[in-house]
Symmetry: C2
Subunit: 533 residues, 2 copies
């Protein structure tokens, strides 16, 4: 039933000689279906269609777009087990995880639909006219957020649903009124085609313009760069490696006439501070919980806890022994793809060989069957502080314990951290007070501070921030998960003395949408009664 | 009374051999006071102080920062006429204009103080815990905007107060909790010193940390590049030329380890659509109003109307004659500095020489006494569409009339426009309906759409957007004027299961600040009552 072709707006691409094949680490074999690489003309067609669709799509009401997102969710669910089975084959991820990820993905679409229905996301700000002001009258000024145009979304290897074809960036870009062109991830091309077809069906059913969505097949170095360089693309959403993210960032900010926003989520080792009070209360349970987080999904999460800070005190040794034992008990798991698997063992070896690093646990090398085994390394804070390369991400089920001789070492180590998606703090109430400088230093480095829990598990909700300072992302000003992600692909515009009949509903005096607005500096849902009435 | 030295935190720099002098176009002579170029060690000291001040300053309450901004405003007013006189000497701008600009600058500081006192600018979003949720409990998640760190602000030549030392970017960065390092503009170094001293005094009086503000003297190519490249600088605010802005953008996004946000406001020619219905109603008054806007401040505004679109119809010729006459009646005015004056005549000549351009009015070349004379050029829409260089900015009192033979030509010309700060539409209600495609196309290109008025005059208020798509700015996602500018130098952070006692006030259950928050998806000022109470 797979065609192996790119989806271009309401149509599909033609078959090409050059084809890509997904490799199944689960089967240990290449899957039989070939996927045609989109031709230059097809890429151009997708961008042309998106450019043409933009003014039409951006004018469709927020409710209309909400219906579109909800229809996508329905179409995804209608794919049934076939979707899960294909994703399982292509990613090696177990069915349970995939079922959960699919739920998360449709919930994400529905969350944005809810945000659209509520309506206040346009951040309406109104300053009414003051015709009698001295020395000069004040005009009527009304500000609203508007979409920016076609967005290129780069699918991620580690979330075939939630950060891929119909994932967060696609949902937030579409919600905001922007057409989307997805670059399918070459590791799960069948999953992509099913998802892209679901979106295409939803677009047709809900009357969206041809070009509101396309999904193209091709390699990052070719298709990816063409998209990043093309003047028709107005922003980029990416989740993946530091190298690929920075390559897109460079192209999109330099190698084109018009620099564009790049939201690349790239690299994070998610430090965990294990403070003495908490550790002495609960060290066995914490060790168990951390081992679960380090090995969850074979460690293939951007929020995997790759760095554990402990001080040397009475219970630290017990904690380390417990953690080591808990990790050793976790069997090696099938990894997402060949490259990730070989990189895992390579990077684990690289970090293990750094001066001062001790290997506490080294699971067997199971590259032969594409499995990743857990690993635990240890280093002194002194050595950690001196060697920046110890902050390089090992993508997989490995973590580095940093032993701090005293509090000032831990503080210095935290202060020297690169930007991160998350930072966790295991602490009692007393610890939080005593080590407030740690908490503060950590907060300056991360997008999310977590108390007494592991960083894996990113809730899709209103308050989530899945982002953080460089190199975790190229733009710390936004999040790729949660309702606030709708802000990514919007810009403000101010309408001065616009006739009431030409104002968008969100800015009209009567407030027909009933949204929260800032009127003359005050937040209100009340209508505006013009002075001359 | 001027020391000629950089201000570094609570201290001042030492005298150096290398000095800069301001040239007064009003006097036609260099001013006697020398200003010492900050040494490499002094630049480093300013950044070190800012880095150290950041955690202290960012913890000061919003009210404390509001008092600081209000104290700056008081200190500026206390400088009295001396400030105006020095700015007049250094910029050539008349006293009336400078008095108005000073008012605008202190009002701007007070607006941000009011925003801080109101408190909702932190955009608090709270999702409360759902411990009983299936399959997994939901954590308590609370999001808030936090400052990003030391900001480098580049002062502008054309607004010695409002876009310079104590201007918009300084005010918004300080309001958000970020230390500021200003690169003084070499054209008005005395004005800079007075303003910087006022800020320093205010910082001391209101108990702000040493390093919350510095103002450094030096050239753009040296000092500017050092600041843009330095890892201690976390964002840049700039107003000036395209060339200088892009040079900073390249450095700040590429030539350093950590790319940072660059808000460069650079180049805009502010198209004005003169639609037939409105023109036939009011052509004489519109010509008068436009002539005033084109020549206001000798045309040295980023919002100067440099491009006027008309269709060929009965009254267009009359309008052109009236505009030409009104412009011819405006005497040449003293320009800001020698470079701007010589560039004006050079660029005017360059555009005049382009194929198809007719010179309707060419004021005398008054470079000798640093004055800019008005100029009006004309071109067909066809020629305009074909030649991108006709969109190059002429910084000064010149404008280019584009004659459209029909509606589709005007639409095509609008669609081909580069990004702009503003777009004006002179239109009757009928015109707006009839030419809705023009309005829509223009809206996609600009940060502010103005109905029936000139683009000059940027109101400092809540709804203002002074920004727009590239090349008007390097980042269309924000504004450099108005209350929304506080968003520039902030990033979101999410606190997960943070103990109530460690939460910032804005996120505490009781909502002690009484701010507007989004709680479980709903906007409210109500406190949160924990389920277990």
């Amino acid at each position: 039933m797979l065609t192996g072709l790119s989806i271009i707006g309401h149509g599909i691409a033609a078959e090409q000689t050059e084809k890509l094949f997904s490799f199944s680490t689960l089967k240990g074999a290449q899957l039989p279906e070939g996927f045609s690489v989109a031709s230059a003309a097809e890429i151009q067609l997708a961008i042309d269609k998106a450019t043409k669709a933009f003014p039409v799509y951006s004018r469709i009401s927020a409710i209309g777009r909400a219906v579109f997102l909800e229809t996508i969710a329905q179409e995804i669910m209608a794919l049934g087990d076939q979707l899960l089975e294909r994703a399982n084959l292509e990613s090696g991820l177990p069915m349970g995880r995939l079922t959960g990820e699919r739920d998360r993905t449709v919930n994400q679409l529905r969350l944005f639909a809810a945000v659209l229905r509520e309506g206040s996301w346009v951040e309406a700000v109104i300053d009414t006219a003051q015709p009698d002001r001295k020395p000069l009258p004040r005009a009527d000024l009304r500000k609203i957020q508007v979409p920016i145009g076609p967005v290129a979304v780069f699918a991620a290897s580690n979330f075939p649903f939630a950060f891929s074809t119909a994932g967060g960036d696609t949902a937030s870009a579409l919600a905001g009124g922007n057409p989307v062109i997805v670059k399918a991830h070459s590791a799960h091309l069948g999953t992509n085609e099913m998802m892209a077809t679901a979106i295409q069906n939803a677009a047709k059913k809900s009357g969206m313009p041809d070009g509101v969505f396309s999904s193209l097949i091709g390699e990052g170095a070719t298709l990816g760069q063409v998209l990043a360089k093309h003047e028709g693309i107005k922003a980029i959403g990416f989740t993946g490696s530091f190298k690929a993210g920075m390559s897109l960032f460079r192209t999109a900010s330099h190698d084109r006439l018009t620099p564009i926003p790049v939201y690349a989520e790239m690299s994070s080792i998610n430090p965990v501070l294990l403070l003495p009070g908490k550790l002495s209360e609960d060290h066995a349970a914490i060790a168990q919980q951390l081992a679960g987080s380090i090995t969850l999904g074979v460690g293939q999460f951007c929020t995997n806890p790759g760095l554990l800070f402990v001080t040397r005190d009475g219970l630290t040794e017990d904690f380390i022994v417990a953690l080591q034992a808990a990790l050793a008990a976790v069997p090696a798991g099938v990894m997402l793809n060949k490259t990730i698997c070989s990189s895992y063992y390579r990077d684990r070896k690289k970090i293990s060989a750094v001066d001062g690093v001790t290997v506490l646990l080294e699971g067997a090398d199971e590259q032969g069957n594409y499995k990743g085994s857990p690993s635990l390394l240890q280093v002194s804070a002194k050595a950690f502080i001196q060697q920046q390369m110890l902050q390089d991400e090992i993508f997989g089920p490995a973590s580095l314990l940093v032993i701090c001789e005293n509090e000032s070492e831990m503080l210095e180590a935290i202060q020297g951290l690169h930007g991160q998606l998350t930072g966790s703090i295991y602490a009692t109430g007393e610890d939080v007070k005593k080590y407030s400088s740690f908490v503060e230093a950590l907060s300056g480095k991360v997008g999310r501070v977590i108390y007494n829990n592991v960083p894996t598990g990113v809730e899709v909700c209103h308050a989530m921030v899945h982002g953080g300072p460089f190199p975790a992302t190229t733009d710390a000003r936004s999040t790729s998960v949660g309702a606030e992600a709708i802000k990514r692909f919007l810009r403000p515009i101010c309408l001065q003395d616009c006739p009431e009949s030409s104002l968008p509903e969100a800015l009209q005096n009567s407030n027909p949408l009933g949204i929260m607005r800032k009127v003359n500096g005050e937040y209100t849902r009340e209508p505006i009664v013009p002075a001359n009435l």
